[in-house]
């Protein structure tokens, strides 16, 4: 709530926002690309192995595409961002808290939410959908490569079935989810950091709690978002 109130009181610093965008968006690419590629390839192989039994090899691309776009892409990218970005945010803000840097900020008439939370929150909202899209694309391309070159699926059928059964709402569902997941990571991580108590042990505990809380929240929220968005798009 304080983050929302912050919009009315203070314009976020562009310099801080760009810095966080670089840290979250640019530097997380290797993690989400690797995750997307690995997931796409293994999903392709598993789907092919099952579909091959019923002679539906060429439907593999469609399953991978829909699965990656609407479920695995956003969830796995968000979990990886929780580990890489969320943990870092909590540790950084927690260390600032226990070394009185947050108090120093408050004595300098700067609200911690305006100064520290908002740039991170906005950068995650902007980065999470882009990183998810990148992860999904890499996953689909990887699955196509595995399917065509290692599993012997015909490339044309693979692509035709994939584009025929993957609808814009599937892609949109993934992007909306990633936007929400980005907000969850930012809010949980910053909250845990700013309410951290004690010294180094407190920072470690807060970081662990942030990663666990954000990960569990993402998995639970994903279920309800799937139900809600399927009603919105397909009813």
């Amino acid at each position: 709530m304080e983050s929302i109130a912050s919009f009315h009181h203070q314009r976020p610093s562009w310099k801080d926002f760009i810095y966080q965008l670089h840290f979250i968006g640019v530097k997380s690419q290797s993690v989400v690309i690797t995750t997307g590629a690995a997931t796409g390839m293994v999903l392709c192989a598993q789907t092919f192995l099952q579909f091959h039994k019923v002679k539906m090899d060429t439907a593999t691309g469609a399953v991978v595409s829909i699965g990656m776009s609407s479920e695995l892409g956003p969830v796995l990218a968000a979990l990886m961002l929780t580990g890489r970005v969320g943990a870092s945010m909590t540790a950084e803000l927690g260390t600032m808290k226990v070394t009185e840097q947050i108090d120093a900020l408050r004595t300098l008439a700067a609200h911690p939410v305006d100064t520290l939370v908002m740039p991170r929150f906005l950068a995650l909202l902007a980065s999470a959908p882009l990183l998810t899209a990148e992860s999904v694309v890499v996953g689909i391309v990887s699955s196509w490569w595995v399917g065509v070159n290692l599993l012997g699926i015909d490339s044309a059928y693979y692509l035709v079935n994939m584009t025929r059964y993957t609808d814009p709402p599937d892609v949109l569902t993934g992007l909306i989810k990633s936007f929400v997941f980005g907000a969850i990571i930012a809010v949980v991580s910053c909250h845990k950091g700013l309410t951290c108590q004690g010294g180094a042990e407190g920072v470690g505990k807060a970081t662990t709690e942030a990663v666990v809380a954000a990960s569990i929240s993402i998995l639970i929220v994903n279920f309800f978002l799937t139900l809600f968005l399927s009603r919105v798009f397909y009813s």
Binding site: M96, T99, E100, Q101, A104, T107, L108, T115
Partner: protein
């Protein structure tokens, strides 16, 4: 300027402040002394609204800050500068960015003027030309001086010092004391420090308050307190751990 009335504060079952009342006038140089863990820093943080009391009032220029929310407190805190015990410099920013943090955030002045005021503040704490350094490259004494520069660069009316000489060697401590005295004399600020360093208290104050068992035990001009024969004050000022046989 600052009126504290019957302030109490508990942390769990431990009562740290038990009805503290005090007044600080504009332009005074006050030192609050007391034993470690006695609540001096807690009291100091109450004066700037970093902590809120369980009961009691704290008025700054007539405004009760105990009823304000965090955003309202930001306005009041513009009157304050504070030097923290470990300086609390922002470790991701350079010295120059630390000192100029408030000026740039307020965005009221040109970059040239901001740089001039940063240089002026660093000159005042006798650290010219170190603006490009990171806090991790500085010694403890230098960090405190940069913290002082950051606290005074925007010309606050009140400067708070939390154990300004703790952790410093005698020469560095004396250097900080001289700077605190100079800031008080040249910028005409109200200076409030908490310390258990009696040499420092003698140098930087014209009035001393003693916090003992959660209350203001005694107050008076610096020389009067330091020369007091009251057993509690005498033992504290002279560092005597147990009552002497003659008492």
């Amino acid at each position: 300027m600052i009126e504290v009335r019957d302030v109490t504060k508990k942390f769990g079952n431990q009562t740290v402040l038990q009805g503290v009342s005090l007044d600080i006038q504009r332009g005074e140089a006050v030192v609050i002394i007391g034993r470690s863990g006695g609540g001096k820093s807690i009291l100091l943080k109450h004066l700037i609204g970093l902590l809120q009391p369980d009961s009691g009032t704290i008025r700054v220029d007539g405004e009760d800050i105990t009823t304000m929310d965090e955003r309202s407190l930001l306005r009041v805190r513009r009157k304050y500068g504070m030097l923290f015990q470990m300086a609390a410099l922002f470790d991701s920013l350079t010295v120059e960015e630390n000192v100029g943090f408030v000026l740039r955030r307020q965005g009221l002045e040109s970059e040239t003027e901001i740089r001039r005021r940063i240089d002026e503040a660093l000159d005042m704490v006798e650290l010219p030309g170190i603006g490009h350094k990171m806090p991790s490259e500085l010694s403890g004494g230098m960090r405190k001086r940069v913290g002082l520069a950051r606290a005074i660069v925007y010309r606050p009316e009140i400067v708070l010092y939390d154990e300004p000489t703790t952790g410093l060697d005698p020469i560095a401590a004396d250097n900080i004391d001289r700077l605190i005295r100079r800031v008080w004399e040249t910028l005409h600020v109200t200076s409030i420090a908490v310390t258990h360093d009696m040499k420092s208290a003698r140098t930087i104050s014209n009035r001393i308050l003693m916090l003992h068992e959660g209350r203001i035990y005694s107050e008076g001009p610096t020389s009067q307190i330091l020369e007091s024969t009251d057993p509690v004050i005498y033992r504290f000022v002279n560092g005597i751990s147990t009552p002497q046989k003659s008492e």
